[in-house]
Every structure is written in structure tokens, then in C-alpha cells.
Symmetry: C2
Subunit: 448 residues, 2 copies
Amino acid sequence: MVERPLKTGFKGAIYPINPHRTEILGLPTYPSVSAVPGAIDLAVMTTPAATIPGLLRQCVEKGVKGAVVISAGFAEVGEEGREFEQAMVEVARSGGIRVVGPNCMGIWSAAGQLSLCFPHAPKAGPIAFISQSGTFGVAMAQVASDKGYGLTKFISIGNQADLEVSDYLEYLAADKDTRVIVLYIEGLKDGRRFFDVARQVIKKKPIVVYKGGRSAAGARATMSHTASLAGSEKIFESMCRQLGLLQVQESFHLFEIAEALVGSPVAAGNRVAILGSGGQGVVGTDACSALGLELPELDAETSSRITALLPPHAPTAKNPVDFAGSSRTALQEAEMIEALLKLDYIDGVISNVPVSPQIWDRSLKIDRNLNSLPEPFRIALSGAQVYASLPKRYNKPIICLRFVRLEHDVMEDILREGGIPIYDTPEQCARAMYTLVRYGAVRGKHKS
Amino acid sequence: MVERPLKTGFKGAIYPINPHRTEILGLPTYPSVSAVPGAIDLAVMTTPAATIPGLLRQCVEKGVKGAVVISAGFAEVGEEGREFEQAMVEVARSGGIRVVGPNCMGIWSAAGQLSLCFPHAPKAGPIAFISQSGTFGVAMAQVASDKGYGLTKFISIGNQADLEVSDYLEYLAADKDTRVIVLYIEGLKDGRRFFDVARQVIKKKPIVVYKGGRSAAGARATMSHTASLAGSEKIFESMCRQLGLLQVQESFHLFEIAEALVGSPVAAGNRVAILGSGGQGVVGTDACSALGLELPELDAETSSRITALLPPHAPTAKNPVDFAGSSRTALQEAEMIEALLKLDYIDGVISNVPVSPQIWDRSLKIDRNLNSLPEPFRIALSGAQVYASLPKRYNKPIICLRFVRLEHDVMEDILREGGIPIYDTPEQCARAMYTLVRYGAVRGKHKS
């Protein structure tokens, strides 16, 4: 437990408490909490369940205000554990100390570089992740980080003996680093309070939720896992709809969807235009249709304007617009997208990442000082800057499909800074747009 | 067009034909096909559509047996193009030359390191990919390669003026490097022949298919894209079911699913056991249930045997088996999985990649000579070898969830060599198992 914060670059003082050793990873140990010389902000506890109430009392006496109890062996294992948990909560409540857990994997805070759960610091970013599953939550967070989604906070909530999901939602709603809250949940301890809190939080920040235990067999599994009553799926879903929680259908869609909400304007309606080559348009159209998004026909004037920007062999521009495999500059694509965003019957555009000069030479390192670049790169990237300016200028979302993932693509950086989320598949793009349409309705952007 | 085969390491001779230049990328050019000194195996043609019939006739005279016509401007653009295409086919048929395309992105062959479509060689492997969409197909193949799926062949089939999808299926059925055929299709030119050919091919190799143009709006988009009549979705789906084609619901599931078919035994039925920590089991159970896979209850004896291998605080083993966040060695996991594979009421197991020693030090390079390794690594990896031996020994599939993606994880290599596919999400694992159940039924492994 000492190793992780050290490895992730935690800068605060760490006082290992251990009466049997004098040193842990180069840090001097202390025989008890009271023996620690300085003040303690947070106690991290991993000793057997039976010892926790007594040790927590020592923390109260020392003036500690917060504890993370990693230890298992509480309510999740039966009657004796339930008694330890009850005793722990009594100490916490009477002593004014708040407790994360027990039976959890701990927390991560990017601001403090404090990891109790990840062996390596995940990518930092504006997504906060609350998980009712410890190991699986840590795994999801790490895969998400590897895929480029940045985390500000991670909380493995465990048995929620003291602090529970609604407390974390309130905290994250006020946390300046958090822009989107992502939630893996199996069941609610206090549905009424959750309803009231989520209704307030959603006005400030989007909440994306994946509910485990949706099948009958899965619900039985949650019983032994987090002792959660999974409850009726229909009730949970209708609560999400009523509150405007963005429920996803696969666990890892949590992060895809969060990424769309991080920087993009929401959509004022469900009318989408798609630009792309052949199959991208076809698959994107299928995926949008399956989610109830509409692809309005283009008016004749817009169609001619866009057709004029396409190569001679391309078919007349319809929706989806077929690039017909032609090469286009970022600026040409931006012009086509702008023609679409101007339309009052189009609420958002799905397109693709313009060809990066780095595609032809993956080893090429490009810095952001465009003036220092050779002509073709400078043109490509200044076109990308125009492209990236469009979402804010028109207050409408653009979502991009990636064709090739480069190690570090400056083209993608430019788009993302403009609030354009980027995905690997047309289906992911469609889901992201669907999310921005749903969240647009939640935030009252829709006119109807 | 000369640059790509050069970049991907093509070893054959390349003769650029160009009457206006003397040299292209260091290679001497020739003014015409007949001026080329040596024999030509394959002509790659990119000149305007109107010139293709005449140039193809020169190829026939030179004795060329195959051509790839990249050029667009044929049947997809209207009447004039249709005439060029007809003329081209007549030359090909009378001259005994077979043509890929026109209006395509070309081909990739790992055996020849020949790329006409990818700027960089994709990862080599046993998956062949036939795509009716050029740009999108190339993009999918590149993303797939970046994700670690290996390709043996890629064919952008274009207008299918001469060779069509059924020809490619027949070819790939006989191709020794191809183990799984993946197909992106929008519509069939000759449904009857496809039915007959696919019925034969499926006996030798699995075919995974994604159909574009499934929604009404998507079907309209295929008309201008590949002039395909998307046809009734219901008819296509029922054909897939009848033939045993493995149809997927999202475009990129093509490769996920192919990966499962590459090395794993198929399943003899739909009864699955899941091992994992908490949420993995819950989400995996939900995903399996949604696909109609069953999780049988464990008999008392098996439950006790597995419970004895779990840490004391873990709940009694049910299905899913909850590891309860405990650390286990690869060998301990292998013992639990073996206890499950022995059961006549379990057809396959979903578990997770055992903790790799590299997780704690990502920079660690481990070679495969286990004897040279420090003790803990040697133990972990020799346990993994036992784990990896199970699918073949029991002729039942194991599918693994990855918790952390390392740059190069020797643990994963060992599992994959044993025929264990590895995924990022429990939902992907469930889809892979579902595929092995479906393909088991196609191959007649199911008893019922």
C-alpha cells in the first residue's frame, strides 16, 4: 500500500504504521497512529476487519478526518463482519471521521498523484469514475487510461458503510477538475437520496452510468458480490430516463461516452449529417438509424455547394456525403462541414479525422509551431485549426472517425482541443452523437 | 502506387509504366506494357477509366494473368462508365486475365509483402478480409492491425466487374495461410452463387460477416456507394443462419470474432462458467445472458473443490466464481478452470489473464527461456503454460479478459499459443464465446 502512492508520484508525507518493522520501502515506520509526529489527513487501513474499529478510534483521537478502509471481511461475509462494520461506522459517526469502503480497492486522485489502487498513474483528465466493483473498476480504469481517456478521480466505493454513492456524486459535482462523472453501479443503498442528489448533480455535470446485474443471472451474482439488490431493471432505466442519467449498454461505453461529453457542445436535436467515404457513411447511417437519429435530405443548394467541393467522379452530395475515396485537405473538409453546420435542419456532423501528414511517416515528430513546418504539413495543420474551430463557432457537435491511430497525432490533438471527440468505429461515433442529443435534451437545449 | 509495395517490403520486380517520366522512386519506367523486359504476373492499373480496356488488351498480349484496377469512373458513375466496365470485362474474359476491381483500393498479401492499399504493412496473421468498401475497409484493417489482429490477405473488391465475392471466398478457402475469412458486404451480385459457394467454404473455414446498409437510410446510401441492392435484411439474416455464416452486429466485431475462431476449440453447447472478480462476473453474466448463453449452477462437489482454492474471505464458489479481489497464481487459476472444464455440463470457461510479473514493472523484458528468470517470474509463467494447455486437453474453449494491456506481455503470448483469445471487456468475451457456440453448431460439434 506504501508502494503505489510512491510510484505514482504522491508528494505528501507517508507514515507507515507497523509495530513489527522499522522501515518500509525506505520510510521509517511508526508503532501506532499516536506515534506519528505530524498531522494526518488520511488514514489508509488494510488490517483485518476485527482490528478496524479500534484503529479507527485511534485515528479519531489523532484528529484524522478521513479514512480509506481497504480491508475485506465486513458485511459482505456475514453476521460477524456486519458487526465489525457497524462498530466501525459508530466510531466514524461519533468521531467525525468519514470513511471510504470497507472492502474496496481504494482511490486515485490526479491532483494529489495519490494512488491506492493503480500500480501506475493513469492518464490524467477530466473524467471521474465511481465504481461499485473494485478489481473490475480498477481494470476498466486502466484499460480506459491505456486507450487515452483521462481520469481526474477514481473511487472504489466498496460496502459504502459510511460514505455512499450519493456523497461521491455531491463531492464530484463541486470538484473543479471533474467535467464528467462515470458510474459503475450494481445496486443502490438509498434509492430515494440517490434520486434527489442525481437530479441536482445532473444540472451541473453529466453522469454516465452502467448498471451491472441487469439479467436475472447477473442480478443473482451481484448479491454475493456487493450484497446489492439489483432491483427491477425497468425501474432503474425509467429512473435514468426521468433524471437524465446517460445509461450505457456496455461497460466500456462508459468512457467512450464520457469522452464525447468532455468538450463538445451538446446537440439541439437528433438530425445528423454524415461525411465519409462509402462504407463509413453506410455503417454510420445504419448505426445512427438504430439509435433513432435522423439523416435529413440535403436541400438542393447545399447539395450543389458540397458537390462542388468533391472530386469530379464523386456522386452528387446526399446525406451521408460520400467522399468517394478522394483525397481532401483538412480545409476542404472543414468547408463542407461548415456548409452543413449552417443548416437549421442539421444538429450535428459525423465526419473523419483529416489525413495527417504523419500517416505517411509515422516516425515524424511535429511540434505545434506551424511556421517551422514544411509547406504540406503547415497547410494540413492550419486547415485542421479551421476544422477544429467549427464546434464552438456553430455551437453544434462534430464527431470524428479515426482512420489510422498514430503514436501521437498532432492532427488529433488540434481537433480535440476544439471539442471534437475521436473514435475508431462509425458505431462509436453514432453512440457519441446520440449521447450529445440526449444530454442536449437534459440541459434544455432542445427547442421542442 | 509504386511507393506502397516498396514500403511494405515487396521483394518482386516492379516495372512502372509511364511514357512521360524516366524514373519513379528510383525505378526506371517503361513507356508501355510491351516494353517491359521480363514476364509480368500482376498489372496494377490506375489510369482513367476510358484507357483501361485498351491497356488491359496490351496486358493480355504480354501474357499477364491478373490485374488490379484501382481506377474509378466505371459502373458506379453511370452509363458511360458502365460501357468502359463492359469493354474491360470483355477484354478480360476473351484474353484469359482475371481482374480485381475496378473502383477499388487494391489488395494486401502478407505472403508477398505486397501492399497496394496500406501505406505500412499491417500485422501479419491468419485472418483474410474481403471488403466491399475500399477506404473504410482499409481503415478497418489498419485499426484491426493496430489492435493486434493479424491479416494474411486483404481484398478491396470494388465493382466486382470480373472477380466477385464468391471467387474470393473459393480462393481463400484453399489458401493455406488463411484460417478465418472476414467479410464486409453491402449487397450481393449473385446471391444464388454466393449461397452455393459459402455453403461449401463454411465446411472448411469460418466466415464472419458484417452487412452494411441494414437500415432503410443505410440501404439508400449503399445504392450510390457500391450500387448494391441491399435487399431485405430479414432474408440476408436468415441466409446467414441457414448457412452458418457468423453475422456480427457492429463492423469492428468482425475482427474480435475472427480472433476467437483463429485458435480456440469450438464449444459443444451454450453452457458457460465464468471466473472473475466481482464486477467482471456480474457484467460477464449479463452479457452471456443477453446472448442466450447459460450459466449452470455448480454441483456441490465442484463448488467445494473451487472454494478450497479461493482465499478464506471469498464467498462459496457459485457460477460466476467470484475471486473476491484475491491474488492468485496462474497455476491456482488453471486448477480452478480445470475443475470446471472437467464437468460434462460446462462447454466453455470465461476467465481472466493471470497477473503478469510485468504489470509491476512495465519496462521489464522477459524472454521465453523460463529457466533464466528470477523465481517469481518463472513460477508465474510456468503456471501460465499449464493454463494454456487446457483448451486442447479438454477440447473446450477458454476466453480471457485482460486487466492491463502491456506493451508486450509474455503471459498473453503463452495463453494465445494455447488457443486462448484475449479481450478488453467482459462483453467482448461473451460475444467470442457465443461465436464459438454458434460455430460449434455449424461444425456439428453439438450433440443435440
